[in-house]
Amino acid sequence: MSKEKISSQEIIDLLASRAGISKKAAEDFLKSMFGIIEDTLIAGEQVKVKGFGTFKLQWNEPRKSVNVQTGEEFIIDGYNKVTFAPEAALKELVNEPFAHLEPVELEGADTAEPSNAENQTVENAGFDPLKIFTDQADEIKDILSEINSMWVKPGKAENKEAAKPERPTLMPEYFTDDMLDEDEDEEPAVLPDEEDEDAANEEYIGNLVDEDEEPAQAIAEPLPVDNFETGVVDIPVLPLQTDDKSEVEPTIVEETTDEFNPDEVTKTESVPEEVVDESKIGESIPEDETTKEDPFTARVKKKRRKVRVWLLVILILLVLAGGFTINYYMSSATRCWCEYSLLSDSNRQKLQNVTSTIDGWYESVKGWFTPKAKSEKVEVAPPVVKSIFTDSIKAQPAAVDSAQTKSVSKPQPNSSADSLQILFDQPREYKEFLGSEKIGGGGTLTVIAERYYGHRDFWVYIYEANRAKIKNPDKIAAGTLVRIPKVDKRIVDKNNPRCIKKARELHELYLRDN
C-alpha cells in the first residue's frame, strides 16, 4: 500500500475532468462544500455526506500532561475535534484487500501446545514399536527355524529349549482382543473397545513393549524351568499331557486363550507334586519286584521323553505366537499386516501339525501306559498307585471340564449377540402394552420413548405398534392415542449400542418410507 499523499489540487483536477467543468468551478465547489461542512460543525451539528460518511464534533476534555523536557505538569485545554465515521459502503470498498478474512475462534493457547506435543509422542510411539516389532519378527523367525531343526532331532531339544529366551507373555486382555479380532470379526461389540485401546494405548505402547519385555521374560522364564525339571526327573506326565492337550485344542480352534497363562502356571506348579510321587514309585517298582518289565518301561520312558519335548515345543510355540500377535497388535502397524498374516498362518499350520502328531503320540503312549498300570496294580503297592491313578483320572475330567467350560463360556457373547440379531430380525408382534399416551399432551414419540424405554431412538417400536393409527411419524395429529407396547428388554437396552444402532436403522427406514 503506497502512502502517496495527494493534495486538494489533484482532487480538484480529477473532479474537473470527471464532471466536465473548469478547475475554477471545481475548486469553488470543493471550497464551498468543505466550508459548509465546517460551518455546520462549528454550529454544533453533524454533517452526513451520502456514500461517504458522517462528520461529527467531539469534545475532548482538558487533561493533565507532563512536559517531557522539564517534567512540569501542565493542562491540555479541552478542545473540539472533528471525527469522521465512514459509511459501510466506503468501509467495504477500502477494506476490499482483506475482505475475505473472517474472525476465527481459537482453541485455548494452553491446549494448542500440548496437542503438538501429543502428535510428536504419537509419532514416536508409532515409530518405535514398529522397529521393535520388526526386530522381534526376525527373532521369531530364527526361533521357528530352530524349532524346525529340532523337529528332526528331538533328543537335543531339551538343552536348546532351556537356553532359549522366552517370548514375553503379555496381558490376557490384549491377547483375547487380538484373537477375536482375527476371528473374522464375529463380535462387533469388541471392536470399539479395541479401537479405543488402540488409540489410547498407542502412546504408551512404545514404552509398554520396551518395559514389558524384561519383566515378561522374567515371568515367562520360570515356566520352561519347571517343565525342564520335570524332564530331568523322568516321570510319567499323563495328567500334564491331557491337560495340555485339552488346552491346546481350544486355543487353536477358538483362539481364546484368556486363562491361558494362569492355567499354565498352575498346571506347571501342580505337576512337580505328582512328579515327586510318581518318581518314587518309578524308583520303588523296579527295585522291589518288576525286573522283567525293565526294557518295557525304558521304551515307555523314551516315548514319554519325546512327548515332553513336544509339549515343550508346543508351549513355546503358543507363547511365541501369543507374544508375536500381541506385539503386532499393540504396535498397530498396518503396513506389517501382510507379513504378519503370512507368518501367523505358518505358525498356525505348524501348531496344528504339532498337535496332530502329539495326538498320535498321546494315543500310543496311552496304549502303553494302561496295561502297565494294570499290571502294577496287581503286583505292587496298590494304595499309592491307585491314588495316582485316580488322581490322574480326576485330573482328566477336570481338565476336560475346564476345557468344556472354556469352550462354552467363550462363544457366549457370540451367541448372545447372535440371539440379539435374531431378535432384531424377527418380526415384532405387540400384544402386551405398558399403557397409552396422548400425542400432543404428553409430547412426541421420542419423548414418550425416552420415558418408557429410556432412550429417544426407541420411538420406532411405538410407531411399529401403532402403525394403524399413525401414517407419518413426523406428522401425528394432536390427541392421537398411541399404545405403548411392551418390547423385549434386550431390544430396548439403552446401554447396548447395537440396540440403538438397530433403532436408528429402523428410524432411517421409516422416515424414508414416508
Binding site: 473532479l15 464532471a19 468543505f34 461542512i37 462549528i42 472533528v82 469522521f84 474472525p103
Partner: protein, 96 residues
C-alpha cells in the same frame, strides 16, 4: 445536517443548481473513495487528512466466555483534522 440539506446549502452558497450541486457532490465522493481505495492519503489543507490505515490482526478474548478470537487485519478510513480547522473550532465553539 443530512445530504439533502448539505446540497441545498452548497447550491445556495456557490450559486449553482441543486442538481449540479448533487452531481458534483456525488462525483467528489466517488473521486475521494477511489483515491482512498487506492490507498492514497487525501489532504485538504484547511480541513484535514483522509487516510487509510491498516489495523493489524489481533487476538481478542471474550471477557465472559473466555473465547479467544483471532480478529483479522483490516483497512479503515481515518480522518485527522488539520490544525487550521482545530484553531477555527477553538475560536468559534464553546463547550458548555
Amino acid at each position: 445536517m443530512n445530504h439533502k440539506e448539505l446540497i441545498a446549502a452548497i447550491s445556495a452558497k456557490s450559486g449553482i443548481s441543486k442538481q449540479d450541486a448533487e452531481r458534483l457532490t456525488d462525483i467528489t465522493v466517488s473521486v475521494l473513495t477511489n483515491e482512498l481505495t487506492d490507498g492514497k492519503t487525501i489532504g485538504f489543507q484547511s480541513f484535514g487528512n483522509f487516510e487509510v490505515r491498516k489495523k493489524e490482526e489481533r487476538l481478542s478474548v471474550h471477557p465472559a466466555t473466555q473465547i479467544r478470537t483471532l480478529i483479522p487485519p483490516k483497512l479503515v478510513v481515518n480522518f485527522k483534522q488539520s490544525s487550521i480547522l482545530k484553531e477555527k473550532l477553538k475560536e468559534n465553539t464553546q463547550h458548555e
